[in-house]
Amino acid sequence: MRSLLFALVSAAVLAVVAPASAKDKLTIYTYESFTADWGPGPVVKKNFEAECGCEVDFVSVADGVALLNRLKLEGGSTKADLVLGLDTNLTAEAKATGLFAPHGPVSNVDVPGGWSDDTFVPYDYGYFAVVYDTESLKEPPKSLKDLVEGDPNQKIVIEDPRTSTPGLGLVLWMKSVYGDKAAEAWSKLKGRVLTVTPGWSEAYGLFTKGEAPMVLSYTTSPAYHMIEDKTDRYQAASFAEGHYLQIEVAGMTRHGAENPLAQEFLAFMTGPGFQDAVPETQWMYPAGKMDKPLDPVFDRLVEPAKTLIFSSDDVAANRKAWVDEWLGVMSK
């Protein structure tokens, strides 16, 4: 009798455990361009799966902000073990959801200004910059001040901070340079702004169609054109005041804290298996250790004289007020 009971119990235990042990699975929520055929996703998946003997399942949404929203919408019932693709302007808010768990030890993290967050781990970074068309603009602005006070006939396309990450980036950039005088600076810049698009794609589309000689993008944008399109036509302008930094991060959810693969992936993320794929798929700088050297084109990019960044908490506390200030000036 006892042996029968034992057999039943062990069968039940096996039935529960067996599916999990068949092949362990790691579910990562990220954004679309990460998992696209040309993105780092496919390489990263292959490399990590070879290392862990597990299965990586990417679930992608449109962009970083949509990613956080997706998580908020799903709440505690989320299937995500890891969320990859938030930036530092969103991390305070992401933490406030209470859905994230602190990460364990990770090494190799290398971002300007250092890193000491207990929840999120960076995987790449880049600087916002004004990218210009060398064929239509011979003398690009040399500083944010130049941009603000320059010839209003030389137009720039910017993004809306209410709907896009680079748009918010420019508001923060102006704030970090002009402080209390940001509203004044915006009202001067306003005449130079051709239009304010809902997202980066629209702005960059207008720019490459020749509608404006300048667009708000990244210092690394020219690398894409130099490597993929083999052209030096589009370049970033170096600004004397420095450039605003954007760091992209990943974090483990509370759900994922129970899956040992999540922590394993975070450690893997800052190593060569992940980082080697970053520069020429993400078109950003690697935030960890690479095995192969950066393409020499990256040496030709603008190196910011100074790195500007607000803490995640500052952004969370002031974002609404600063965006409203922008809106007040720009909608007059």
């Binding site: 055929d37 949404v61 709440g75 209410r162 051709l194 589309g205 207008l206 169609k209 944008s221």
Partner: protein
């Protein structure tokens, strides 16, 4: 709902079912958001500031102007097209007119700018006219041009649908009485157009109210902004469901107000109750001068619509189309797009048929007197789904469904359902004139002969409704094909459509791929519209 003694009418039940489907979809989403947001109402209250007032004013203003500029020329264009039922290329022009609906707004914006922008094809000529460098069309003018591009063809097709319900007997009579073009317009065409006018104008107005990418991209700055942007912002960066619901209700309220005024302006004329005896033939030949004017009108409209399309095609041809078409991701997306568009167009056609039939049944049962709430609901109420932003429906259902299992599994069903409901108002406008006219003519006869139910539908209604239903189907398909609102929230690796892929390419420097995909999307749309047209064509006897 039915008077005692009146036989239960299956059409009313069908309408009730359709209405319930739509109501559940919209109210379920709003309820989901409201419950989530009920804890914190501060955002909803603080949303109503002076800036919002300006945004609301601008939203209505640009929508009213866009409607006027789309609908007025469309009246004359539809008339010109109906007066010349046979000329080479006519069919193609009509099919081309469905394509703008399937194109993502940014593609259209770039197409318009390729002609009229600062670096556009016409920039030099326009610059000389303006004296100096051409400043582009940023601002209200740009918004209007793009909106007219989207809506003029749509309105013209719907008006044409209304004109085609005019029985040939009237034309024969007109020709016997020796009516000229002007009298023919006043006595025959205008009554038919006037009946369709409030509905079509309302539809265009709603489309322009919810415009988002066009308004921001071509508007020149946040002074040109719509309520839709505020709703999007509330759900995106701020994630404030209460504010999103409050703003959505405001948007619905304002639109209901304007559309009610429009409905007032339109007359409720009833169709011709006589059975058609004359064969479908045109009796009123257009004179020489008139033909020239009509030809001019059609050429002008075609140039306006085809201009940006040519630019889109030209940009698309520069892409590596062979490689694109061979990519597995593109093929998958195209298949997904076609299946989703087909399913939602089918549901959409069913919904609209049910609503149109129920409206007709109710209004003929009423025999004068005041309309009941239910009749208002099937007549215009359901159409207001258009001003409920897809992101609101998507987010609301997300919140509701997360308690019931796998969200990813229901994503395709959700996309199809929302697209079907969003396309329903278009389908209704296409089907209603023909349905009402047919019903007016056949109801009594069918009652006398005792033909009803399925027999009536297949024998009496189907032959007349075939073509307008095909038009409805084509529009619904085009609209679902171009959807980016619902898919943006529910899209994932498993559900990627062509527009979704297009935006993804555009978002990663691959502008040429994006242009190629836009061309592909336009071609797929054209092919589907062509197929729908074929299916709907009346057999010639």
């Amino acid at each position: 709902m039915t008077r005692p003694g009146a036989p239960a009418d299956i059409r009313i039940f069908a309408g009730l079912a359709a209405l319930a489907f739509i109501a559940v979809l919209v109210c379920g989403a709003l309820a989901g958001l409201a419950v989530e947001g009920a804890g914190d109402l501060s955002g909803a209250l603080s949303a109503f500031d002076p800036y919002l007032l300006r945004v609301a004013r601008f939203t209505l203003w640009q929508a009213a102007l866009s409607t006027l500029l789309s609908v007025l020329p469309a009246l004359f264009l539809a008339r010109a097209l109906s007066r010349h039922p046979v000329f080479p290329g006519r069919g193609f022009i009509l099919q081309l007119f469905a394509v703008p609906l399937a194109l993502p707004a940014i593609v259209v914006a770039l197409g318009v700018l390729a002609l009229l922008g600062r670096a556009g094809f016409m920039a030099d000529a326009l610059g000389k006219l303006a004296g100096g460098t051409w400043p582009g069309i940023y601002g209200l003018s740009g918004i209007l041009v793009a909106h007219v591009f989207f809506n003029l063809p749509l309105a013209a097709r719907l008006f044409l649908e209304a004109l085609q319900t005019v029985p040939s007997d009237q034309w024969r009579l007109a020709s016997q009485l020796g009516m000229g073009a002007r009298a023919g317009f006043r006595l025959i065409e205008w009554p038919a157009l006037r009946q369709a006018l409030p509905g079509v104008a309302g539809l265009v107005f709603m489309l322009c109210v919810t415009s988002f990418t066009i308004v921001l991209t071509l508007g020149g700055g946040p002074a040109a902004s719509t309520l839709e942007v505020a709703i999007y912002q509330a759900l995106r960066f701020d994630f404030d469901p209460a504010r999103a619901v409050a703003l959505t209700l405001l948007q619905i309220g304002l639109t209901v107000l304007v559309v009610s005024v429009l409905a007032w302006l339109g007359a409720n004329t009833s169709g011709d109750a006589n059975l058609q005896v004359a064969p479908p033939r045109r009796y009123l030949a257009a004179g020489g001068a008139e033909t020239a004017i009509n030809a001019g009108l059609i050429v002008l409209a075609l140039a306006f619509v085809a201009g940006p399309m040519v630019a889109i095609v030209a940009a698309g041809l520069q892409a590596d189309l062979g490689r694109l078409a061979g990519e597995a991701a593109v093929q998958r997306a195209a298949a997904t797009s076609i299946v989703l568009a087909f399913v939602s167009a089918f549901i959409s056609a069913l919904l609209s048929l049910a609503l149109v039939a129920a409206r007709r049944a109710l209004s003929s049962r009423r025999r004068g007197g005041r309309k009941r709430l239910f009749e208002h609901a099937v007549e215009t109420g359901a159409g207001f789904v258009l001003v409920v932003p897809p992101i609101v429906i998507g987010a609301g259902w997300f919140l509701v469904l997360r308690h019931f299992g796998d969200l990813f599994a229901v994503a395709p069903a959700m996309v199809a359902a929302v697209n079907a409901v969003m396309a329903m108002p278009f389908a209704v406008r296409a089907v209603r004139p023909a349905y009402d006219a047919a019903s007016e003519r056949h109801d009594l006869l069918c009652a006398q002969l005792g033909v009803s139910g399925w027999n009536r539908f297949t024998l009496i209604d189907w032959p007349v409704l075939r073509r307008p239903l095909a038009t409805a189907f084509a529009f619904a398909m085009a609209l679902s094909l171009g959807d980016l609102g619902v898919i943006a929230l529910f899209g994932s690796d498993s559900v990627q459509t062509l527009p979704y892929l297009l935006l993804a390419r555009m978002g990663s420097y691959r502008t040429q791929d994006a242009a190629g995909l836009a061309l592909l999307l336009g071609l797929v749309c054209l092919a589907l519209v062509l197929a729908a047209d074929r299916l709907g064509r009346e057999r010639r006897t």
